[in-house]
């Protein structure tokens, strides 16, 4: 059997590439995850359930869920609006606005938190103003939400904008010549066009919101039972040497992450198929 030209690596190269790949996945991903589960189950199911069901942990899960829900809704609405504006509107400073969208990608989570502290903290411009009008941002839910919104800002915009650009305006113009109103066009033409990209952006937003740690740590004050999200709870438990609690909440978060990844993967395949058909 001669080796065909498509086999660029050769037998030895293939074996080497395959082993390197397996090793990479094992050392960086699979073994640590697997071991964490082993350690967690070492505490026994009773302990784990008790830790997951403790009032502090439950509150942390609830808070994380609430923040994620808010981030998803706000990003879906405003992110789509911004994507439409960036793709379809012409205005001075559009290129700058476009570049600014990516800034949160470049900013460390801690720095994002710091930005919120600087802006909404007692010495910050907005912070002083809001404080005087009785609105508490830092060390409260609004701060956590703002920090999360900041780190998840680009996802929806960056997923939706290319699809909008590629779809062009033909269908919408056609609808307009048929007498459809702007809002009808938005709901009947534009949104159906971007729904797969929007869904993907929303899933990414949710994944990031669930796990956001650094930014939230800085702005929340990490107050047990009040402003502590699930990842913060893991960190707190770890620093308190309550490993059982840390592992217990971690396996819940990993399970959610796995579910998210599976959904993302399915979504991606579906979307690719649908968008390919459309193009």
């Amino acid at each position: 059997m001669i080796v065909t030209a498509r086999d660029i690596l050769g037998r030895r190269g293939r074996a080497a590439a395959a082993s390197a790949t397996y090793l990479y996945f094992l050392v960086v991903l699979a073994l640590p995850i697997g071991w964490l589960f082993l350690e967690a189950f070492g505490f026994g199911p009773g302990t784990l359930l008790a830790k997951i069901g403790s009032p502090e942990a439950l509150h942390a899960f609830r808070l994380t869920g609430l923040v994620t829900a808010i981030a998803v809704v706000v990003n879906a609405v405003f992110g789509t609006a911004l994507a439409i504006v960036l793709v379809r509107h012409r205005f001075p400073g559009r290129a700058l606005a476009n570049a600014l969208v990516d800034v949160p990608f470049a900013v460390s989570a801690v720095v994002a938190g710091l930005m919120m502290v600087l802006l909404y903290g007692p010495d910050g411009v907005l912070g002083a103003f809001l404080d005087s009008s009785g609105v508490r941002v830092l060390f409260a839910l609004p701060g956590i939400v703002l920090a999360t919104l900041f780190v998840t800002f680009p996802f929806v915009v960056r997923e939706v904008a290319p699809v909008l650009r590629q779809a062009g305006t033909e269908a919408e113009e056609a609808a307009r010549t048929l007498g459809a109103r702007p809002m009808t066009i938005l709901f009947r033409i534009t949104l159906p066009t971007i729904r797969w990209a929007l869904g993907y952006g929303v899933l990414l937003t949710a994944a990031r919101s669930l796990g956001e740690f650094g930014a939230v740590l800085l702005v929340s004050g990490n107050i047990l039972g009040r402003t502590q999200t699930a990842p913060l709870y893991v960190y707190q438990a770890y620093t308190d040497f309550d490993l059982a609690a840390a592992y217990a909440v971690s396996i819940v978060l990993i399970a959610v992450a796995l579910a998210m990844v599976v959904v993302l993967e399915i979504w991606k395949l579906r979307r690719r198929r649908i968008e390919r058909v459309r193009v």
Partner: protein, 368 residues
Amino acid sequence: MRIEVRNLCKAFSGVAVVRDVSFAVAEGQLVALLGPSGGGKSTILRIVSGLEDPDSGEVWLGGSRVDRVPARERGVGFVFQHYALFPHMTVRENIGFGLRVRKHDPAAVAARAEEMIRLVGLHGLGERYPHELSGGQRQRVALARALCPAPKVLLLDEPFGAVDAKIRGELRAWLRKLHDEVGVTSVFVTHDQEEALEIADRVVIVHDGRVEQDGSPEEIWRAPANAFVAEFVGAGNRFAGQVRQGKIDLGFLSVPAPEGVAEGENLVLLCRPTEVFVDAGPALPDAPRIARIAFLGTTMKVEVEIPGRDAVVAEIPPSALRDKNLAVGMPVRLCLSAYQAFGRDSLATQPATSVTPVGTWFMDGGGI
């Protein structure tokens, strides 16, 4: 260099694509592998080049057997259907690639590449990138690249498949001229019978993984080896008939039977539209009538409906149409000036390769 393949077989995941194919190409010839898409032609070509290895069978180049020699050592030039030019290399780098990887002296590579650029008529385009070229120009680069290392044989996979119809004609004539200049033994794959018949020295018809016929363009045209070849090279009309008293009775028409057919035998007749003549006929109730007339350019396509049968297609010169005052709806007489007759049973039950024509008939008239 002479190419010979013997008893090639190849299956992809259990599906036989090439079945016991043998043929030879004489030194310096330009041979076409012609057949419908998916018939295994490209696979045969890829096996000859070494891009695919056969399940069984042999490939000979000159005096040596090469079917176990990897493509990179086989010394064949291959032109891909979609060019497969290297997008990040200039035309010159693309063409010189084959020599460069063999560690030739850079000056010699440059000189040879320049020679090739001139040969294919791309002067001044050496520094362009493939995406800056038209389809026809890309095709020329692909050809120059394949020829540059002076291959033993040149293999072309649907060389004109990706260029538009207008340029295809030009490229075709140009390829024939280039072949005569360079003289390298060449095989090209095509599904376009016109293309194959026009420029090939010999045509090998491949269908369903088998060789159906192997002959000169004229032989293929004049004497198709079987019904498949006849239909593939343009016999568009198909009639069922029976031998009666030395003639073939088609129901609406009797035509002379070839020698050696038995009385009562069932036959199939294949007839090209250009061999069907149409003339005004008596207005009988079941007479053939003209259903449609379409303008094809140099000829007119006339579709004649015969009650209870498939329509017959004829191609006649516009002048004939005018002279005979033919119009849609008119009753007509038909006659077949040439046709091939094939045994009907064998056609239906046996693979096409084993169906030999019962006879071929050329004549000036015939009719009701």
